[in-house]
C-alpha cells in the first residue's frame, strides 16, 4: 500500500518540550496548600503488624495525619488478584507500606515518618523458590493457593521417547537469570486532590490510567465517575508502572484530609515500590540430529514471583510458550512454575518472561551447533519458523514470519574480527 505520512520520519510532538526542559513530569506539578506524604515501609520480609503508635509523629508541628490499614475502606489492589494491601497489616516483603504520614512540608513528613513506631511479629521466611515450592512450607497466600506454587503451565507436544531416540546430539544445561529493576529515570510521583466538583483527581505517570482509576475507586469506595486519573509525561516505564504504587496512597490521604497531596519517591523508595523482572532457573535439555535438525526439547522453568502475584501467571505462561525459541521442535515437554517467596514482588518488565528464555534457548543453539560442527547461523537457518510452521503450543503461524529475511540481512555482519593486545 502506498502511503505518504505513515512510514515517514515525522518528528514527535513531545520532542521539543523534552529537549527544552518544558515538559511537565508529575514531580513538577504542585498546588497551593498541598501536603507532602511519606510512606513507612516494613523492614521485615514477613511479619504481622501488631501495633502502630503515631503519637510522637502527630506531636510534631506541621504533621496533619498518619494513616494505616484501618483507614483504607477496601484495603487491596492488584492486576490479576487483589492480593496486595494498600497499607499492610500483614507484611510479605521488605518495603511493604504499613503507614503514611501527611505533613505541611516534605522535611516534616520524613522526620515524622521516623517517629512512627510499628511493632511487628516476625514470621518465618522463604527466599528460594524451589524451597518455597515444598508442600510443608508456610503458604504466603493461603486464600489464593494452598501452597506457594501460584501457577504451573505444562506444554506437551509429540512424543519425548521418539524425540530422544532420533537425537544424535543432546545438550543439557541449567541457566539462571537475576532480579532486575526497571530503573526508569523518573521515580514515582503523584499529585492527588479534590477538585471543585468534589471529584478526586490524580495526576501521575502510569502505563494505564484507566486501571489506576479502577483501583483507586475500589480502595476508597468511589464510583469510576468520581475519580479522574490524568497521565502527565512518563519518564520511562518498561512494565514498572503497571501495578499501582503511590497513586492509591496519595488519593487516600487527599480523600481523608481534603487537602491536595504530593508524593515523590527517592530512588531508594522507588526500588521498593514497584515490581522486578522475574529471576528464572531454567533447566534445558535439547536434542538434534547430526545434520542439525532439532528433534526434542525438555525444559523446567521456575520463576520467583516474590511476595505478590502481580502478572506472574502471565509472565511464566509467556516464558513457557516462547521457551523453544523461534524454532520448529516436534517433541516438546515444558513445565513452567510461578512461586511465591518473601523476595520483592516480580511483575511486568519489557520482555515479560520471553526475555529470560532467550538466554537458555539461544545458548543451547550455539552449543548444539558446536557439537555438530556447523555454524551458529546454519543451525538456526535449518530450524527457524516460516509461514505455515507449527509452534510448541500447536499454533500454526499463518502470516508475516520473516525471520529468514532478518537473518539474511544480518549475515554479512557475522564475520569474525581480529584479536588485539
Amino acid at each position: 500500500m502506498k502511503t505518504s505520512v505513515v512510514g515517514s520520519r515525522v518528528t514527535r510532538e513531545d520532542a521539543w518540550g523534552k529537549v527544552f526542559g518544558q515538559t511537565k513530569f508529575p514531580a513538577d506539578v504542585n498546588l497551593p496548600g498541598q501536603l507532602y506524604a511519606v510512606v513507612i515501609r516494613s523492614p521485615h520480609p514477613h511479619a504481622r503488624v501488631l501495633s502502630i503508635n503515631s503519637d510522637y509523629a502527630l506531636e510534631m508541628a506541621g504533621v496533619v495525619a498518619v494513616l494505616s490499614a484501618k483507614d483504607v475502606p477496601h484495603n487491596a489492589h492488584g492486576v490479576l488478584f487483589r492480593d496486595q494491601p494498600v497499607l499492610a497489616e500483614y507484611v510479605r516483603m521488605v518495603g511493604d507500606p504499613v503507614a503514611v504520614v501527611g505533613a505541611e512540608t516534605e522535611e516534616i513528613a520524613r522526620e515524622a515518618a521516623k517517629r512512627v513506631q510499628v511493632e511487628y511479629e516476625v514470621l518465618p521466611t522463604v527466599f528460594d523458590p524451589e524451597e518455597a515450592m515444598k508442600p510443608d512450607v508456610l503458604p504466603l497466600h493461603p486464600s489464593l493457593r494452598p501452597t506457594n506454587v501460584l501457577y504451573h503451565m505444562p506444554i506437551r507436544r509429540g512424543s519425548m521417547e521418539e524425540g530422544w531416540a532420533k537425537a544424535d546430539v543432546v545438550i543439557e544445561k541449567e541457566y539462571n537469570t537475576q532480579h532486575v529493576d526497571h530503573a526508569f529515570l523518573q521515580p514515582e510521583a503523584v499529585l492527588a486532590y479534590l477538585d471543585e466538583r468534589g471529584h478526586l483527581v490524580v495526576q501521575t505517570a502510569t502505563q494505564y490510567a484507566h486501571y489506576d482509576r479502577g483501583e483507586i475507586a475500589h480502595a476508597l469506595g468511589l464510583r469510576f465517575s468520581q475519580v479522574q486519573v490524568k497521565t502527565l509525561a512518563v519518564g520511562g516505564a518498561f512494565g514498572g508502572r503497571e501495578d499501582i504504587s503511590l497513586q492509591v496512597i496519595a488519593a487516600l490521604m487527599a480523600w481523608k484530609t481534603l487537602r491536595p497531596v504530593k508524593m515523590e519517591n527517592t530512588r531508594e523508595e522507588s526500588f521498593y515500590s514497584h515490581s522486578k523482572r522475574h529471576p528464572m532457573r531454567m533447566q534445558y535439555k535439547t536434542g538434534a540430529t547430526k545434520d542439525g535438525k532439532l528433534v526434542a526439547m525438555e525444559a523446567k522453568i521456575v520463576g520467583d514471583s516474590g511476595a505478590y502475584a502481580s502478572w506472574s501467571i502471565n509472565v511464566l505462561r509467556k516464558a513457557a510458550v516462547h521457551a523453544t525459541g523461534p524454532y520448529v521442535i516436534p517433541n516438546v515437554s515444558i513445565d513452567s512454575y510461578a512461586v511465591f517467596t518473601n523476595n520483592p514482588f516480580s511483575g511486568a518488565m519489557r520482555g515479560f518472561g520471553a526475555a529470560q528464555t532467550v538466554l537458555a534457548y539461544e545458548s543451547q543453539m550455539d552449543l548444539l551447533a558446536k557439537e555438530i560442527g556447523i555454524s551458529p547461523l546454519e543451525i538456526r537457518l535449518r530450524n527457524i519458523f516460516k509461514v505455515g510452521s507449527t509452534t510448541a503450543t500447536g499454533q500454526v503461524l499463518t502470516s508475516s514470519v520473516p525471520l529468514d529475511q532478518c537473518l539474511a540481512k544480518i549475515t554479512p555482519y557475522l564475520q569474525r574480527g581480529g584479536e588485539s593486545e
Binding site: H179, Y211, Q228, K230, R380, Q395
Partner: protein, 334 residues
C-alpha cells in the same frame, strides 16, 4: 589479553495480552471545521511515541499532515479505555482502533461529499493534501475545511467512536496446546565484544539489530526503540542485578545498581524488515519488547566465541568471566 568475538541471537515474541484475555482498545475521532482533527484514546504514551503514530495514522487517512492532528491520551475524564501500554500492543491494538475510528468518521464525510459533488458513490471521492474532491478530476475539489464547515451549517458532524479487539484464545491447561498470541514479532541481533582476559571486563563494540516490524510506521521511532532495547539488553547481559539479603535490597541506588551509561553503549546499527501483517494497521506489528530480546544471547554467545567460556548465569560480571576462564585453564593444565 583482549580477545574479540561475535555472537548471534534470535528471538520471537507473541504480542498482546494473550491467552484469551480481552485485549481491547478504543478511540474517538472528531474532524474539525478548519480541516484539522482530534483523536482521543486512553493509550498512554510512555515515551515510546504512540501519540505520533496515532497522528500519522489519522493524517494518512484524511489526506492531512501529522501536525494537523491533535492526539490527546491517558486522561480518564476525556479518553476511552485503550488498555495498558505494555505487551507491545499500542501500535498494533490502539493503532487498529484509531484506524477504525478515523475510517468511520471518514466514511460519513465521504458520503456527504459524494452528494455535494453529484457523485453516485463515496468511492469516487478522495482526501488529499488537505482537499476533498472527485477522484481523477483535480479541478473539482475544495479545501477539507470548507466542506466540514458547510456540513456543520447543515447539521452534519464527522465524529466517531470505535474499538478493536486482538485475536487470542486460552491454551489447554493440561497440554498447553492452543493459539495464545497474535501476531508474533521476530528479530535477530549480532554483538561484537572484546573480553579482557586479565580483568574479565566485557566491552560491547558493536551491535547489529534486524527486527521484523510488519511495516515501519515511523522509521525514526523504530530505530529509537531498537537503540533503547539494545541498551537495556546490554544492562541485562552484563551489569544489572538486584542484590538481596533476606529480602532486603542491598543496592537500591544507581551507584551500586549499575545500568548502562553512554560509555557502555556501542555503535548500534538498526535495520528492519517489512513483511506486512494483514491484521495490523497498514501492516504494522509492535516492536517495544522484541527490541531488547536477542541482545543478551548475542553477547553471551560472543563471549564464548571470544574466549571459549559459556556463561550460564547473567549478568556476565567480570568475576564470573574470570572464574570461568580459570576453570577452563585448570582443565587445560590438568
Amino acid at each position: 589479553m583482549k580477545k574479540r568475538g561475535i555472537g548471534l541471537g534470535c528471538s520471537w515474541y507473541g504480542t498482546g495480552y494473550g491467552n484469551g484475555f480481552p485485549d481491547v482498545s478504543s478511540a474517538f475521532v472528531e474532524i474539525h471545521d478548519d480541516g484539522s482533527a482530534t483523536v482521543l484514546t486512553g493509550a498512554v504514551d510512555v515515551g515510546q511515541g504512540s501519540n505520533s503514530i496515532f497522528a500519522q495514522i489519522v493524517a494518512e487517512e484524511l489526506g492531512l499532515e501529522a501536525q494537523d492532528i491533535c492526539v490527546y491520551s491517558g486522561d480518564t475524564d476525556a479518553t476511552p479505555d485503550s488498555g495498558t501500554t505494555a505487551a507491545t500492543r499500542q501500535t498494533y491494538n490502539t493503532g487498529n482502533a484509531v484506524l477504525k475510528a478515523v475510517r468511520q468518521a471518514k466514511s460519513s464525510l465521504l458520503v456527504y461529499a459524494a452528494r455535494e459533488f453529484s457523485c453516485p458513490t463515496p468511492e469516487g471521492i478522495e482526501l488529499k493534501e488537505g482537499y476533498i474532491g472527485v477522484k481523477g478530476d483535480p479541478s473539482r475539489r475544495v479545501p477539507l475545511a470548507d466542506l466540514v464547515f458547510q456540513a456543520r451549517l447543515r447539521g452534519e458532524r464527522f465524529i466517531s467512536a470505535e474499538s478493536s479487539t486482538a485475536r487470542s484464545t486460552p491454551v489447554d491447561p493440561e497440554t498447553g496446546q492452543g493459539a495464545p498470541y497474535w501476531p508474533y514479532s521476530f528479530g535477530c541481533q549480532s554483538a561484537e565484544v572484546e573480553v579482557d582476559t586479565e580483568t574479565g571486563v566485557v566491552q560491547v563494540l558493536k551491535v547489529v539489530a534486524v527486527h521484523d516490524v510488519g511495516k515501519a510506521l515511523n522509521p525514526t521511532q523504530v530505530e529509537g526503540q531498537i537503540a533503547g532495547g539494545v541498551t537495556q539488553g546490554i544492562g541485562y547481559a552484563l551489569l544489572e542485578e538486584l542484590e538481596l539479603d533476606e529480602g532486603k535490597i542491598k543496592n537500591p541506588a544507581f551507584s551500586s545498581y549499575l545500568i548502562p551509561t553512554a560509555l557502555d553503549v556501542p555503535n548500534i546499527e538498526a535495520f528492519f524488515v517489512e513483511d506486512a501483517e494483514s491484521t495490523g494497521p497498514f501492516g504494522a506489528k509492535g516492536l517495544g519488547e522484541p527490541a531488547m530480546l536477542p541482545t543478551v544471547a548475542a553477547i553471551i554467545n560472543a563471549i564464548d566465541d571470544a574466549v571459549g567460556v559459556r556463561i550460564t548465569s547473567i549478568p556476565a560480571t567480570p568475576e564470573k568471566i574470570l572464574k570461568a576462564l580459570a576453570e577452563k585453564n585448570g582443565e587445560v593444565n590438568r
